[in-house]
């Protein structure tokens, strides 16, 4: 049951991801991407990661996609004609084969990955400690160094963005 659901969600996720590329309209692309974020949140839910799933919705589907749609509307992007070529090339066969291969690999990965990979965050541990606590313990003990490094990197990125914006 769960495996089947994961497979279905994986296929929908891939389909929406492809639609992001194929849509001729930029806002439609952004909407497909919102759908994609959503389906990925569902995948997290199926892996019993409520917290990560809702973070996926808040951060990606909520905030970041909102930023992207805001940028698209602000720049007033129109229909692009290049995407027609992509569709033609896909139908030509070369890219289609690649895409099918990719889909197959991802389905295999999504479908059979969870069985193979099991770290410290098992169902039992989650029920025992609560997932947020588990995650927090991991981030602030074992993963502290990468976490801090990432935060430094993000701060640097923000400072750089402000610098670039100030120049204009």
């Amino acid at each position: 049951m769960e495996q089947a659901l994961i497979l279905i969600c994986g296929i929908i996720a891939i389909a929406t991801a492809i639609m992001v590329i194929l849509s001729r309209n930029t806002v439609h692309s952004a909407m497909w991407m919102v759908g994609n974020c959503f389906i990925i949140a569902v995948l997290f839910l199926l892996l019993r990661f409520q917290f990560i799933a809702i973070l996926q919705i808040i951060v990606y589907a909520g905030a970041i996609m909102m930023f992207i749609i805001y940028a698209i509307m602000m720049l007033n992007l129109r229909l692009s004609d290049d995407s027609a070529d992509i569709v033609k090339n896909l139908l030509n066969g070369r890219y289609l084969l690649l895409a099918l291969l990719f889909i197959g690999i991802v389905i295999l990965g999504v479908g059979f990955g969870p069985m193979a990979l099991k770290g410290t965050m098992t169902d039992q541990a989650m029920i025992k400690f609560g997932e947020v606590e588990l995650l927090a313990n991991y981030i602030f003990s074992e993963g502290l160094l990468p976490f801090e490094l990432v935060s430094v990197l993000l701060t640097a990125a923000i400072v750089g963005a402000i610098y670039l914006a100030k120049k204009n």
């Binding site: 409520q50 917290f51 809702i54 808040i58 909102m66 749609i69 509307m73 947020v132």
Partner: protein, 327 residues
């Protein structure tokens, strides 16, 4: 079977219809209270003191012509109100209405679900509701709608942050994301006394997220002639309208749950009644604010958020953390 299927379905239907009814009558309450605040009567004709007005409005909207403008992006145009109403209704699932009650020997919890991430669920899906406004404005093929959608997305991006930060300080003193735990934590002292700054920030940014009058940028009547929903008619408009009022009721119940102690109150009334009294008090406050303050200029709204509310909320988190570390 009974435990996992029938009771949840009954709860679903009851809570959904109760909240739909409340949302419909919030429109009546808004018109009536706003009228009296402007020394008018408000609706008086349909039924006793206009009590049947929401029903008359609903019937009127059903029978109006459903227009789709020629310039519109038709799929998105139809999809936008659906997104709006879905994201609004889904929020009702996690709101705790009262203490558990006993019917026919069964203990029934007065909420549909109590996920361990309840408050994050509400924050996430209330943002998604804004997609309805933005896409509705964009797909209308109308410059006013476009501007309304643009402003709507800017508002959400800005005010979501301070709202979340205000909630974070509540999460810190509760130690849980679950709304039920938050209510339990307020048995003695309500959070509004423990966290007055967070309450103010949450109230202001919540009203801004609801797009209500001091901050109604996406639908500024005098500038954008109704903004994102300018091209909508009939049931599609009604769905937008309903979504807005369901959001308002959810916001009021959220303020009640987070800051006014949820269902807690003196024992002579049941918890559910206390909950709804508080919810209507918050809705009254929203209407009061709407009746008093004129719309802010767009850049001032952004200034208020980024230069006042956000630093205040951050400082509040810092102060909360310090106090918690000391105690």
């Amino acid at each position: 079977m009974v435990e996992y299927l029938i009771i949840p379905v009954i709860k679903l239907i009851v809570i959904f219809s109760v909240f739909l009814f409340i949302a419909a009558y919030t429109t009546y309450m808004e018109r009536k209270v706003l009228g009296h605040m402007q020394m008018r009567y408000g609706p008086m004709r349909v039924g006793f003191h206009g009590l049947l007005q929401p029903i008359a409005d609903g019937i009127k909207n059903l029978f109006k012509e459903d227009l789709i403008p020629e310039n519109a992006d038709k799929t998105v145009f139809v999809l936008a109100p659906a997104i709006s109403i879905t994201a609004a209704v889904i929020l009702l699932a996690v709101i705790p209405l009262g203490p558990p009650i006993t019917i026919f020997g069964r203990t029934i919890n007065l909420y549909i679900a109590n996920p361990s991430i309840g408050i994050l669920f509400i924050l996430g899906f209330s943002t998604l509701g804004a997609y309805g406004n933005i896409l509705g404005g964009w797909s209308s093929g109308n410059k006013y709608g476009y501007m309304g959608g643009l402003r709507g997305s800017a508002m959400i991006i800005s005010y979501e942050i301070s709202m979340a930060f205000a909630v974070v300080s509540i999460i810190m003193i509760t130690g849980s994301f679950s709304l039920v735990d938050m209510v339990h934590a307020q048995t003695g002292l309500w959070n509004v006394f423990k966290q007055p700054v967070a309450f103010l920030v949450f109230l202001i940014s919540g009203i801004a997220e609801l797009n209500r009058t001091p901050f109604d940028m996406p639908e500024a009547e005098s500038e954008l002639c109704c903004g994102y929903n300018v091209e909508y008619s009939s049931m599609k408009f009604a769905l937008f309208f309903l979504a807005e009022y369901i959001h308002m009721v959810v916001f009021a119940s959220l303020v009640t749950t987070l800051f006014f102690g949820g269902w807690h109150g003196p024992a002579f009334l049941p918890g559910v009644v206390w909950f709804f009294i508080k919810v209507f008090a918050v809705i009254f406050l929203c209407i009061w604010v709407r009746a008093t303050f004129p719309r802010l200029r767009y850049d001032k709204v952004m200034k208020l958020e980024w230069k006042f509310l956000l630093p205040v909320a951050l400082l509040n988190i810092l102060a909360t953390g310090m106090v918690m570390a000391v105690l």
